[in-house]
Amino acid sequence: MTPPRLLPQRRLSAVVLAIALSSAACSSGDSAGGGPVTLRFWTWSLKGPDPTARAIVEQYHREHPDVTVKLSEVGGTPDTVAKLLAADRADDTPDVVQVEYRAVPALMVAGALRDITADVAGSKDGVDASTWAMTTINDQVYGVPQDTGPMMLTYRKDLFDAYGVTVPTTWAEYARAAEQIHAKDPDAYIASFDPTQFEFFAAHAAQAGAQWWSTDGTAWTVGIDSEASLATADFWQDLVRRGLVKVEQLLTPEWNAEVASGRILSWAAAAWAPSVIYSVAPDTAGKWASAPLPQWTPGRTAVPFLGGSAYLVPAKSRHATEAAAFAAWLGASDEGSKLLLGLDIYPAGKAGQQETLTHEPPKLMPQQKDFYQVADQVVENTTIPMTWGPNVAMASSAFEDPFSAAALNGTSFRDVYRTVQKAVVADLEKSGFTVHE
């Protein structure tokens, strides 16, 4: 009787093991200065398949033949942060990472970022001081800004005109405009109200003078329940109670359909809003316009940033020097920030911003030739710096759920803000931070 053949399974296991061991041995070692270097770059703005993005990377390669940049899309900020932290623990990080500003302190506190103050000192002047401050913590620089989101109001000019509503310059006027619009057409709203947009409400409170996080270097102060902040809660509570804004999440099929059919008339967001609206309602192009964000006090011009991201270098990157140099080039150099404009973002670099002034307006509002002038003015005048604490992600989820419930049930927004204040303070203290009362 012939002996039984080894099942393929057994032999396969041996092969797997062999390959595993050999690939572990062959993993790319570091190049200590000199020799070609490949930088792994996690980003969603420079998409690998996009020819503009590839042109940028190739340009850098021409100027620095030793450096090749490999683009990878791993998701948005929450995904990137989760993956970066896991990679950091596994000693397997990329070399440059794009995240939005609000995530920087948490990453820094987790020890996942490299202090690149020295590496990028020369590029500091290429970017606005207040934007540069968004990646600076305790005088140490952890990232290079890529883009900013100067807040603006994007609105349906044609419908505003039809309803006889003038563009609001203060939030009080905004409320009156909301009344007018809803009175003229009960199916239309000046805007939607999305209780999950934590960053928006933080920015809104900042505009009223209330920073949700601030620090003196040794301890934190949480300002979610300060009077100024609660006043902003009251403002929205009033609009929601009177049914003047539609409570729903942004960018659902419902919201998209309403924007496309003119039932949502404006969006208070930032300079990037037009391209988002264009992607869901391209037929409405030419009917929109952008204006500076309404103010709390008439005559003032202060406006915060919403969104925007920066390039960071992970602490465990094996090519940190080259990585920092690339980040500095892309975000802060004249050449880099102008190239970024091709990606449809509003660059943080001064040169790029200067360049926008001669750029075509966004596809959503081809008729508004001064779009970038307005944006530029916003950047010039204002900028209320936003300070983010080390527990933004936790605060955001602690905020969303009760705020959604309150919006749906008509209960007090002030109470929600107070509850969130307590939760955020408790979380900071539990982690071991000192919090001022």
């Binding site: 009787m1 099942l7 797997v16 572990a24 623990r89 596994a90 924007v259 496309a260 992607s279 925007g308």
Partner: protein
């Protein structure tokens, strides 16, 4: 014996089929809509953009979508075969042998299902990173080989399809264990194996969490992860809805093909039960 075809059964099945197909029909119809039609026309009204959407999908980024299709085929095909084989062996062992520790083994494997994939994901990643496999094809292939549910299914199918007498006869004849398994047991379990392979294949094909944690090199992404990157990323990024929808619709096609190919094996049942 009734001479009529069972009409009620047919009707109920058609209602069920309709219920299941309606949302799938939505996907296909939505894939035919251009961006301007997507949010402005009735959900089930066909659009005019199908050729454009397909072309955009296929050429986006030099055809990176097709790369993702190949990756998915690799993960689901190889992973499915390995997993089915491992499950078949373990199921056979649990079903057709009486040995000490059998129920303990069974319960232990059951315990494996109690821990959700979410909690396993990061530790698995750290483990594979330690041996330098994180981010490689292996990191997505290896963890899916162990499939407790598949093992249980195989146990049931082995118990049902393989009569004890046949096994006893073969053993008395002096046949080797592996030979019995390969020549007698596997062919009898073909139905069950096909089902397990199909379910495993589809499960791996549509798996998102494991590749998401393990991979950061876009060239290795399966379709699920690839399409995910088409969705809005940062504040201000425009969605590529039509690409996601069209890509999803296209991704279902290989699964349909697989199903059609495998279901022929379900017909060959008259031979399977012929041993009583």
């Amino acid at each position: 014996m009734t001479a009529r075809r069972p009409r009620l059964a047919f009707l109920v099945l058609m209602v069920g089929a309709l219920y299941c197909l309606a949302p799938v029909a939505w996907v296909v119809i939505a894939a035919s809509k251009s961006p301007r039609e997507l949010f402005t026309t009735f959900s089930f009204a066909p659009g005019t953009g199908l050729p454009d959407n397909l072309a955009a999908l296929g050429t986006h980024g030099d055809g990176v979508f097709w790369r993702w299709v190949l990756n998915s085929l690799l993960y689901a095909g190889v992973g499915g075969v390995l997993s089915t084989l491992v499950s078949a062996m373990a199921g056979y062992s649990l079903a057709k042998f009486r040995f000490r520790g059998r129920e303990a083994l069974f319960t232990t494997i059951l315990a494996g299902v109690l821990v959700p994939a979410v909690v396993l994901a990061v530790p698995q990643y750290l483990l594979l990173a330690k041996v330098g496999l994180a981010g490689t094809y292996w990191s997505v292939l290896l963890p899916v080989v162990i499939n407790p549910f598949g093992i249980f299914l195989c146990r049931i199918f082995a118990a049902a399809a393989v009569p004890q007498d046949t096994l006893e006869a073969a053993r008395l004849d002096g046949a080797g264990q592996l030979r019995i398994f390969g020549v007698i047991v596997l062919p009898m379990m073909v139905h069950g194996l096909v089902t397990v392979f199909l379910l495993t294949f589809v499960g791996i094909w549509n798996n998102f969490l494991l590749p998401f944690i393990m991979l950061s090199d876009q060239d290795k992404y399966p379709i699920t992860l690839g399409l995910y990157t088409f969705l809005s990323q940062g504040a201000g990024d425009s969605n590529l809805y039509p690409l996601v929808i069209t890509g999803s619709a296209v991704s279902v096609i290989p699964l349909i093909v697989l199903f059609l190919a495998l279901q022929r094996l379900w017909r060959a049942d008259l031979l399977a039960g012929a041993l009583s």
